[in-house]
């Protein structure tokens, strides 16, 4: 009778139907492919699995993939916050155009992004030729991977933050100021706690997107073994050898690391939301 009780309290009817739909949909789209992956990987013994997962090049590729993803998501967290703040709080000519521009990395085929970035940042490119005299090489180095992932991840942070910043009344800042808070205090003690859960969500989304990114990265990375090989490239490399099981093993490792990382970010978010439950909490941060 618990279900009926829960069902009766809802304004809209159809709890059973929508839950059923959710379960079928998630099973078909996510659980089925993932269990296929696990099933395929179970063809390997633990020793074989470990040998593939902990190979020298595999280990180097995890460092490159996860390192570049964290860096890119961090850069986006900082600059995405600034972009979102400007787009919400100020009005200026061309604001709509800039707002639309933010979504571009969503829409652009990632290979196009990769080729364009590689051309721009190559030694004779528009940006690369100004960096080269300083000894800074971006294209075809791990730095290039960070650049590509930063491009890909930007909209996730901005679009997550915008509605939350819109919800903060400017009066809150005025109240803080009138109570004697400095600008820094207003930001760190009054605004940031409200924004933080959403910022973390944006960071997580950008980070997860980056881990799986392949199309843009391979064109700018240079793909040198042990230096600039991302894990998705190694997976493709296994597939090129028709070694589906080996590819699956690497995929499972990525999945596990990602899952653990996402889970810990979600735990952090939950903690942050509870600590400042007065400022929106789960709803504002789009929840877990």
């Amino acid at each position: 009778m618990f279900v009926t009780a829960a069902y009766r309290r809802q304004v809209l009817p159809g709890f059973g139907l929508s839950l059923g739909c959710t379960l079928v949909y998630l099973s078909l789209l996510i659980l089925l492919p993932l269990s296929g992956l696990a099933f395929k990987a179970s063809n390997l013994t633990l020793g074989e699995f470990w040998a593939i997962a902990s190979g020298e090049r595999a280990m180097a590729s995890y460092r490159v993939t996860f390192g570049a993803s964290v860096l890119a998501a961090t850069i986006n967290a900082v600059f995405g916050l600034i972009v979102a703040w400007v787009l919400v709080r100020y009005s200026f000519p061309g604001k709509r155009a800039i707002d639309a521009l933010v979504d571009l990395p969503f829409a652009l085929p990632t290979a196009v992004a990769g080729i364009t970035l590689a051309t721009l940042y190559a030694g004779n490119g528009w940006i690369g030729k100004h960096l080269e005299p300083w000894g800074i090489k971006v294209a075809f180095t791990p730095v290039g991977i960070v650049v590509a992932l930063t491009f890909i991840g930007l909209p996730f942070v901005v679009r997550t933050l915008q509605p939350v910043i819109e919800d903060i009344e400017p009066e809150v800042e005025e109240a803080a100021a009138s109570l004697g808070a400095s600008r820094l205090q207003t930001f760190t003690r009054v605004l940031l706690p409200g924004i933080f859960p959403a910022l973390l969500t944006g960071f997580t989304l950008a980070f997860s997107r980056s881990i799986g990114e392949y199309g843009s990265v391979i064109f700018i990375a240079g793909n040198m073994p042990l230096i600039s090989e991302i894990t998705p490239l190694l997976i493709i490399s296994k597939l090129e050898q028709y070694d589906v099981i080996g590819a699956t093993a690497l995929a499972v490792v990525m999945l596990l690391i990602s899952f653990v990382l996402l889970l810990s970010v979600n735990a952090l978010q939950w903690w942050a939301a509870n600590r400042h439950s007065g400022h929106g909490g789960r709803g504002a941060g789009r929840g877990a």
Binding site: G14, G16, L17, G20, C21, V24, L28, G55, E56, R57, I115, A118, T119, A122, G123, N124, G125, A139, F140, I218, F219, A221, G222, N223, M224, P225, L226, S228, L233, I236, S237, K238, L239, E240, Q241, Y242, D243, G246
Partner: protein
């Protein structure tokens, strides 16, 4: 409510299957590698005209192009290709292993079932400032070489094997000296391009590197795109003969009843018309008379096949490109 849910579910599945089903329009499906697009775009109308004349039928040939190993995986997973036209025997071998293509496919057509060939050559900057004449110049310190990923791409693998075979044929050459030679070549590569076209862009447009290793057939495309005066073609003293095997997918033609059409489609590649089309697409025709006619386009070059030098792709692939193969060994030595 449960009934409603069930009908919704049924509707959902119906939609899913409708999307998955691919309409069978009759005719042939030719599943091919990426850069064969231009070749078959020209070839298909020629064949259709021929087929209409001899059989009086109007048929349709559908094309599918992508990376070759992706393509054969799709065929193995159920993409109903009547014929496959590939750029490396190891890809067709995969379909043989899956029981889709006959074991002796290479003998079902002339010339190792490869209607045309190409070879790996060098493209250097105008005036050849680094004086690159042969493989020995490419591995010199201070020379930068651009090539696609030797482990993950077909043309990268051909480049790798070309250098390996050259080193083997030198005086005192053996597997050890060859590995050392290729190691020096790879050390001169500042990056591994994602694919053949990406390597070309990196060399021509981004102006990275002193020499690009590429298919002879690609050089003409580069000339069309970037202008003839921008670069020079250098033919090494020895290179690999790249073969492009074609095969009938037995299981599919039996099921769809398209064997006769598929056979005719591939046979016609060796006809005068088919061979001329190859030459016009800068692929070396098998017909010696035509090769002579297009001699200006195809200067003589000494080549070896993968079969002669490495005992076939089924040996070369695991030795060099599987995990733990010579490519991986070169990077683990460092």
């Amino acid at each position: 409510m449960f009934r409603k849910f069930r009908s919704l579910l049924a509707g959902f599945f119906a939609m899913l299957f409708a999307t998955a089903a691919i309409a069978d329009g009759g005719g042939l499906l030719n599943v091919s590698y990426d850069v064969a697009r231009d070749f078959y775009k020209d070839y298909n109308p020629l064949f259709l005209k021929h087929w209409k004349a001899v059989a009086g039928e109007t048929v349709e040939v559908r094309q599918s192009h992508a990376g070759s190993s992706k393509q054969v995986r799709a065929v193995a997973d159920g993409l109903e290709a009547d014929v496959v036209t590939m750029n490396q025997a190891s890809d067709v071998d995969f379909l043989v292993d899956k029981g889709l293509v006959a074991k002796d496919y290479a003998r079902k057509f002339p010339n190792n079932a490869s209607p045309y060939t190409s070879t790996m050559i060098f493209i250097v900057r105008k005036g050849n400032p680094k004086a690159i004449r042969d493989w020995g110049d490419v591995v010199k310190p201070g020379v930068q070489v651009i090539l696609p990923h030797p482990k993950n791409t077909g043309n990268g693998r051909y480049s790798y094997l070309a250098a390996w075979g050259f080193a083997l044929r030198q005086a005192g050459g053996n597997e050890r000296t060859a590995q050392d030679f290729v190691g020096r070549l790879l050390k001169n590569a500042p990056l591994f391009a994602a694919g053949g076209r990406d390597a070309t862009t990196t060399f021509m447009q981004r102006r990275i590197g002193d020499v690009l290793i590429s298919f002879e057939s690609e050089a003409e495309l580069i000339a069309r795109e970037f202008g003839k005066g921008e670069f020079e073609i250098v033919y090494p003293s020895l290179s690999v003969l790249t073969e492009f095997p074609v095969a009938i997918v037995e299981r599919v033609v039996d099921k769809r009843g398209t064997r006769k059409l598929a056979q005719a489609y591939l046979d016609y590649l060796w006809s005068a018309v088919g061979q001329e089309n190859a030459a016009q697409n800068y692929l070396r025709p098998r017909d010696p008379a035509l090769l002579k006619k297009y001699a200006a386009q195809f200067p003589p070059i000494k080549t070896f096949t993968v079969d002669e030098m490495f005992g076939g792709w089924s040996k070369a692939f695991p030795t060099h490109f599987k995990d733990g193969g010579t490519f991986d060994q070169i990077y683990q030595q460092k």
